[in-house]
Amino acid sequence: MTIAAVPATAPGKFATRLRHLGYILGENPVTGFAFGLLLFLVVVALVGPSLVPYDPLTTDTAMALRPPSAAHWFGTDQLGRDLFSRVVVATRLDLEISVLAVALSFVLGTLLGAAAGYFGGWTDAVVIRVIDTIMAFPLFVLAMGIVAAAGNTVSNIVYATAIINLPFYARMARTEVNVRREAGFVEAARLAGNSHARILIAQLIPNVLPPMMVQVSLNLGWAILNAAGLSFIGLGVRAPTPEWGILVAEGASFIVSGEWWVALFPGLALMLAVFCFNLLGDGLRDLIDPRRRT
């Protein structure tokens, strides 16, 4: 999703970008690895649920808390459910939550920030005040408060994660639009009789997209961490739905008695996803930031 969103207006430009992408991947194999990992995660999220060997919800108390074996690659939990199946099935939900949340805050934040940077005045004052108020809270704590108050549902996790991510996009869009507000191409568009909305959407926002995409990638990892953290403390996703955070929470009580696999494998899956998005963010920054290009 992030790759496709890199603006490619003309085919020639697209070819250049593609060649540049190939160059970056060749120069930095870590980014190539991250792209591969992302692809893997997306495939797992799409087809994983139909490939897993066991039903993620079927219990089998005779097989409770078995360590990893050939039959159960990641072992079984306290109810004898197959952990491998549960971890794989959870991928879709975790990616869904974070992608939806980041998409929501990206769209809202960009529009708010761009409007603030373009119009200035009281629009700017109001947006700044809202952003500052959100940022005045430790963000994870604010998300906790929102989910606790609005109700313990998955959609509220998405909204809460979107709200705490909003300031990053709004701030960035505001600054980037603000420096271009009086630029020649904007003046030209204005003189040609374009409306403010059209100038913002057709001229300014496409210009601020590249740095925003880096933010999106870095944010996705953070969004997954937040959503998993919320369900780890018992907010949002409810048992027995497989989700990485709640799987780790279920395994937490068995760590002290030595059954490490129940918490470790979902934890590793979570780490892998976050790691992937962070690496990708760094790679995209190399791709997009002209100062880092060689």
Binding site: R129, D132, T133, M135, A136, F137, P138, L139, F140, V141, L142, M144, G145, I146, A148, A149, A150, G151, G221, L225, A228, G229, F232, I233, G234, L235, G245, V248, A249, G251, A252, I255, V256, S257, G258, W260, A263, L264, G267, L268, L270, M271, V274, F275, N278, L279, D282
Partner: protein, 342 residues
């Protein structure tokens, strides 16, 4: 720099924090009023008559308009009233205050641990780009931001408690066989020392070690990353070249000229670091059954006891606003330009 202008600067910053605090109070008020279902029915208890619910509604002021309710809320806040915890039956404010030292002790120890490891790591990485220290720095920072705190905590418990047996069971601040030291500061590390109780001090330290390391690992990443980037930037600047060309010793160049200037952007990122830390604190407290305000809020959350959760959110926000204020003042102490500019 005259002394008076510094005072004026601090005063301006404190006044600048007032609208932010106001915003925080408005948001927490709205969160309190957005409770699922009917707060009056909820506060009255599950098996109460319609009459009793009406009474509670009147007592809580829920039958008035929203602005009037807000005034009532602020009035209650002004006298430190955050409502009652249903689970414990005590005022939320008292509960929070009695548990705050546990959270602060954990946060401060973790912060100090993170600073003393991350800052030298970042500096070393910047002075030797491409060396093993640099690679170590890069791996720690990328891994550090990718590791969920609750997973790191559990792994540490497994390795150091279950396998090696070095750490005590992850159950709170102090072994249940030992009695808590007489409260002076509320920080067990200091209180046990003041009481001259070496055994309790050691027990406190071992209990604190794993949660503090967990939190520090998470905090190290942004600090080391920022220190490295900022130090690299400073070391490539002209005044460092001049200092080197003038034949100043390496430590002088690195520490007096390089490090002091590189510190500035690091201090500004501390605000974000605290935001992450206070959030991660909740998760670490849950993993280690640490009796801080985070655990208190989570217990309340599970028993659908909302007043403590809202009080917790407000307290964390106020704490965070105050920390940011402190960072601002510290920044202006390090960099006189900030004071001059304002």
């Amino acid at each position: 720099m005259k002394h008076g202008s510094m005072g004026g600067f601090i005063l301006r910053r404190v006044i600048g924090a007032v609208p932010i605090l106001l915003g925080v109070i408005v948001v927490t008020f709205l969160l309190t009023r957005a409770l699922p279902g009917d707060p009056a029915a909820y506060f009255a208890g599950t098996s109460s008559s319609a009459e009793a619910i009406e009474q509670v509604r009147h007592r809580l002021g829920l039958d008035r308009s929203l602005p009037q309710q807000f005034v009532l809320y602020v009035e209650a806040l002004a006298v430190g009233d955050l409502g009652q915890s249903i689970a414990t039956g005590r005022p939320v404010a008292a509960e929070l205050v009695s548990r705050l030292p546990a959270s602060l002790e954990l946060t401060f120890v973790a912060l100090i641990l993170a600073i003393v490891t991350a800052v030298p790591l970042g500096v070393l990485a910047a002075t030797r780009p491409g060396s093993w220290v640099d690679h170590l720095c890069r791996v720690t920072t990328t891994a550090g931001v990718s590791l969920p705190t609750f997973v790191t905590g559990l792994l540490l418990v497994y390795v150091f408690y279950y396998i090696l047996g070095w750490a005590p069971a992850p159950l709170g601040r102090l072994d249940s066989f030992l009695s808590a030291p007489p409260t002076v500061t509320g920080f067990y590390l200091i209180d046990t020392l003041l009481a001259g109780d070496g055994e309790a001090f050691w027990a406190t330290l071992t209990q604190l070690a794993l949660p503090a390391i967990t939190l520090a690992l998470f905090t190290m990443a942004p600090l080391a990353r920022m220190t490295r980037a900022s130090m690299l930037g400073v070391l490539s600047s002209d005044f460092i070249r001049t200092a080197r060309a003038s034949g100043l010793s390496r430590p002088t160049v690195l520490l007096r000229y390089g490090f002091r200037n590189a510190l500035l952007p690091v201090v500004t990122t501390l605000g974000m670091v605290f935001s992450f830390m206070l959030g991660a604190n909740v998760l670490v407290e849950k993993v280690f059954a640490w009796p801080g305000i985070g655990s208190f809020a989570l217990e309340a959350l599970i028993s659908l006891d909302y007043a403590p959760v809202q009080g917790f959110v407000l307290m964390m926000a106020v704490l965070y606003v105050m920390l940011n204020l402190l960072i601002d003042v510290a920044y202006s102490l390090i960099d006189p330009r900030v004071r001059m500019a304002s």
